[in-house]
Symmetry: C2
Subunit: 343 residues, 2 copies
């Protein structure tokens, strides 16, 4: 009860005891029927929502609640970045088994609010419930500066170059490691050094980190948008080939990936090849964009050196929406097998 008997498991009390930095446009952060903000600072707003479900999207024994809290928010912010928008605020619905309302809940919120602070995306409300499994549902809002417009999936033009920023395939290989080895103490790990030493070698560490604690390319998406450097953009969350097909369908163009231009993970994991993981893996949170020759020129000339490398991996051309893979002189239509929870 607000102001009366603060309960352990109370989102509002938690936030009241862990004050956040709020932009002046937030008028009522939390504790009423709704949060309230004055939206007139923004010319456009974006909104996105995503869920993370135990035993569908993650296993509790493979990830600490602290990292789960961090990942939950950043996968939503990745969608904001893919439109080029600046994160603004978020809401959290969290359902937990009754025995997780102590430490598990607190570590989750700690991780969540650290990322919220890092990306200036204050938590403005939410709902807590009891459930048999952990269920996380997040909504995030973003905004644009006055003269900027969202970068849509549908903006791709014939003769655009396809540019990929960020890694693909590592996350899926990390999941493969987890599925094969089913480690039972990984949930204790809450820092990268411990994960590195648990992993045993640098490649396994890179794969596991990509899966358990992805880094969203938020500043990259904003920079591309603010400088008008992309005709279309999407974040790679369902697999490179699937997300490229989304972009091709929305833009009504044909898309071709030059296989040799992809920087693939150095190794396969078990039977899963690096190429398969890169094309159909999912959860990469890389940015895939298309740019005109003029945009490519400016992008290459001004690309900040502290951003992850950008790579030209293919092109868009006139034709029925579809994805083609090209290797040497051979060109094959490709049917992505991407991510589908109901398959």
């Amino acid at each position: 009860m607000p102001g009366k008997n603060p309960r352990e498991f109370d989102l509002i009390e938690w936030i009241r005891h862990n004050p956040q930095n709020l932009p002046p446009s937030v008028l009522m952060p939390i504790g009423d029927d709704c949060a309230v903000f004055d939206p007139r600072f923004a010319s456009r707003m974006t909104v996105t929502t995503d869920v993370l479900l135990e035993d569908v999207h993650f296993r509790r024994r493979w990830v600490s609640s602290y990292w789960l809290g961090r990942k939950s928010l950043v996968v939503n912010l990745s969608d904001l970045a893919a439109m080029g928008s600046q994160p603004y605020a978020c809401l959290l619905n969290l359902a937990l088994p009754g025995d997780l309302t102590g430490n598990y809940f607190h570590s989750f919120l700690k991780g969540f609010l650290e990322e919220a602070e890092r990306w200036r995306t204050p938590l403005l409300g939410g709902d807590l419930s009891n459930s048999e499994k952990v269920y996380v549902s997040i909504t995030a809002w973003g905004s644009f500066k006055e003269d900027r417009h969202p970068v849509y999936r549908s903006g791709g033009q014939v003769d655009d170059t396809l540019i990929l920023i960020g890694d693909v395939g590592f996350s899926r290989l990390g999941l493969e490691i987890l599925q094969q080895e089913d480690p039972d103490r990984l949930w204790e790990i809450t820092d990268e050094d411990s994960l590195a030493s648990w992993s045993g070698d640098a490649f396994r560490f890179r794969c596991l980190k990509a899966h358990l604690l992805p880094s969203p390319l938020i500043p990259v998406g904003i920079w591309l948008c603010e400088n008008g450097l992309a005709n279309s953009m999407i974040d790679v969350s369902d697999g490179l080939a699937t997300d490229l097909l989304h972009l091709a369908c929305e833009s009504q163009v044909e898309a071709e990936i030059q296989i040799d231009s992809l920087v693939l993970p150095e190794h396969n994991i078990n039977q899963l090849s690096a190429l398969e993981a890169a094309l159909n893996g999912g959860e990469d949170y890389a940015l895939l964009l298309s740019a005109s020759p003029e945009q490519v020129e400016r992008l290459s000339a001004t690309y900040p050196s502290h951003f992850p490398p950008h790579r030209m991996i293919g092109k868009l051309s006139q034709g029925k929406p579809a994805v083609y893979l090209k290797q040497k002189d051979e060109r094959q239509p490709y049917e992505p097998s991407g991510f589908d929870h109901f398959k």
Copy 2:
């Protein structure tokens, strides 16, 4: 895959085949990484989110998916109404067991989108997943006309009159009927006439309808706000006494309910008294507000006859935040036992 092989269970495809009325400020309704809107039409925006979890908030055998879809949206809109805001748009995260992705999914969405259309709250996106149980998470946001301000819980003033609009207690009594009788075919019912005939008498029907298909007081909340008729307001979703305590705490006042002024359900159900159901029931979606003498006068003089009756049920006064019950001349402090999923 958008535009390629439309899958049965695909929110985006579903919405593309069931076009919605969209306000001109919605720039990208669905099908990209985010929805996009131009918020500059609004001086304030409200946001709220809520979940409905199978076996926590509802049982699948007690409610049709069509009614569940309707209720899911309206309980969120009730929060918007409690601030006085006009619903603007919503997002839906839905997780379902694999065997419910056919008819169950379609009926749910049909109900959801009918209410969305009714209250002009288009669905702008969401996420679908697989899960063992049905999980519904909704985010809704609303807006205010230029010169209007939200009605907060914290605006209550000493000497305000407490006004209740809508019924309390019936929903909890309806739940009591369901818990006692555990009907196994109620999920087949999708219209009020069938529920009425299943119920057997008018009182049981009223209780069951209040629980299964509540009517949010959206036009009432907007009208109160637009006419400046409430100092504070909250929607009664956790029980009248609990929600009044919230209001008292946020407003830093003492609150008193005059028991005899409450219009209670005519009967008890089993061991559950009508008074207990009214004070601690929850899920009523009535509006509880406080108004100054001047506001009370204007409210009474102009109250639209097609709204549910408004009743003066108590007052706010100076004192430590708490709830008192008054009957005849006796006045007792009251500790609400309201709703807590973890109790």
